[in-house]
């Protein structure tokens, strides 16, 4: 019997998701033995035409990481969708928009102006911007169009499963690969990670008081947190209550609060709004003015509460401003 075909592809991403697969170390060997990898730009020399030449549905599973930021990425994931039986949004960027999704706080024009004209290290006296097509004399070169805003993978194509994380930890990837190879995948639409909140699995949960009361929000840079204390109980924003577990509490172990890269539980549509609601219930005051003082002490709530999930949020549309 022919081995199932598997594709790996990246969109607006950093390559950390590719590293996560390499981090499987020797556990990758039985996988490579069981499947044929038909696309993996970081490691293998297959091109788009190789995928185009395939029959629809010929690829068993495509693992797609990165957010969707350009026309080329959108075309490529639509092509992979056609050729694949299962598409997995792999990592925070494909699943929720991730760090590249913070770009949705700005218009495309603001981003281009900064990157090509205004950044202190830029010297561009002729105000040259990337063009969709440029005549080089000997011939034309083309670039894909940047979208006005960043999208999650499932805002562009249908997605069967999600593997969260920035980057996804090797144990979750291994479990997902095993489930695929053994045909034991859960219901379509599932997030392949434990659904408990991060707080439920936090090594610091015993230090959490019965009721957390926040009377002042403190900045991590100016606060010393003992390495066994709940961040929220110390007044530092931690997205644990609005984030699922499975990450191995990597940030918490490094004495850094959670920023939500695993996304919210399945029942929650908007991670930042979920955190906002959790946070509001922790405010230690009944006095409106005092409450306002406490909420005003949160600097950059959009960047903090939506660090990894802005394009997936209900608010994403508010940032999609008209130019």
């Amino acid at each position: 019997m022919a081995k199932p075909k598997v594709a790996f592809y990246w969109c607006a991403s950093c390559g950390g998701c590719e590293e996560a697969i390499v981090d499987l170390a020797e556990n990758i060997l039985p996988v490579v033995e069981a499947v044929d990898i038909v696309l993996w730009p970081v490691a293998l020399d297959f091109k788009r035409k190789d995928i185009e030449a395939m029959k629809d549905g010929e690829i068993a599973v495509s693992f797609i990481n990165g957010a969707i930021r350009s026309e080329e990425q959108e075309e490529m994931v639509k092509l992979l969708r056609r050729k694949s039986q299962i598409v997995i949004a792999f990592g925070s960027c494909a699943y929720l928009g991730g760090i590249p999704g913070l770009a949705n706080l700005f218009t495309r024009q603001e981003i281009l102006d900064t990157v090509y004209f205004d950044a202190p290290s830029v010297v561009n006296p002729n105000k040259i911007l990337p063009q969709l097509a440029t005549d080089m004399g000997e011939g034309e070169v083309t670039l894909p169009e940047l979208h006005e805003c960043v999208k999650t993978l499932d805002q562009v194509i249908a997605v069967e499963y999600y593997i969260p994380g920035c980057a996804p930890p090797p144990d979750l990837i291994s479990e997902a690969l095993t489930a695929i190879l053994e045909g034991k995948l859960p219901a379509v639409g599932s997030v392949l990670a434990p659904q408990k909140t991060l707080c439920d699995t936090c090594p610091r949960k015993d230090s959490k008081p019965e009721k957390i009361s926040v009377s002042e929000v403190k900045r991590m840079a100016f606060t010393q947190i003992p390495d066994d204390k709940c961040f929220l109980s110390e007044g530092v924003i931690c997205l644990g209550p609005a984030t699922i577990s499975g990450c191995g509490t990597r940030c918490i172990n490094a004495n850094m609060p959670c920023r939500g890269c695993f996304g919210p539980s399945k029942a929650v549509k908007d991670q930042g709004a979920k955190f906002l609601s959790a946070f509001a219930s922790l405010i230690d005051s009944e006095d409106e003015e005092e409450i306002k003082k406490i909420t005003d002490s949160v600097i950059d709530p959009a960047g903090l509460f939506y660090m990894f999930s802005l394009p997936s949020s209900l608010k994403a549309k508010f940032f999609e401003r008209e130019v």
Partner: protein
């Protein structure tokens, strides 16, 4: 006008790249163009973020 060789994407490296090589009638390279068809805009979206958060944001420029 000679042949054009397009390598898109450039593979087996981290990142998105594309190379167009324009050959002259003799088959020699007349011009070669390297392009990065990828822009995320860290320079812009780091603005307004808390300074202590930027380390966790900019590590996602390249995760390799």
């Amino acid at each position: 006008m000679g042949k054009t060789i397009v390598i898109d994407p450039i593979t087996r490296l981290e990142g998105h790249g594309k190379i167009n090589i324009f050959l002259n009638d003799e088959g020699n390279v007349a011009k070669a163009v390297f392009q990065v068809p990828e822009l995320r805009g860290f320079e812009q979206f780091c603005k307004g973020r808390l300074a202590e958060e930027v380390a966790r944001i900019t590590t996602r420029i390249c995760g390799v």
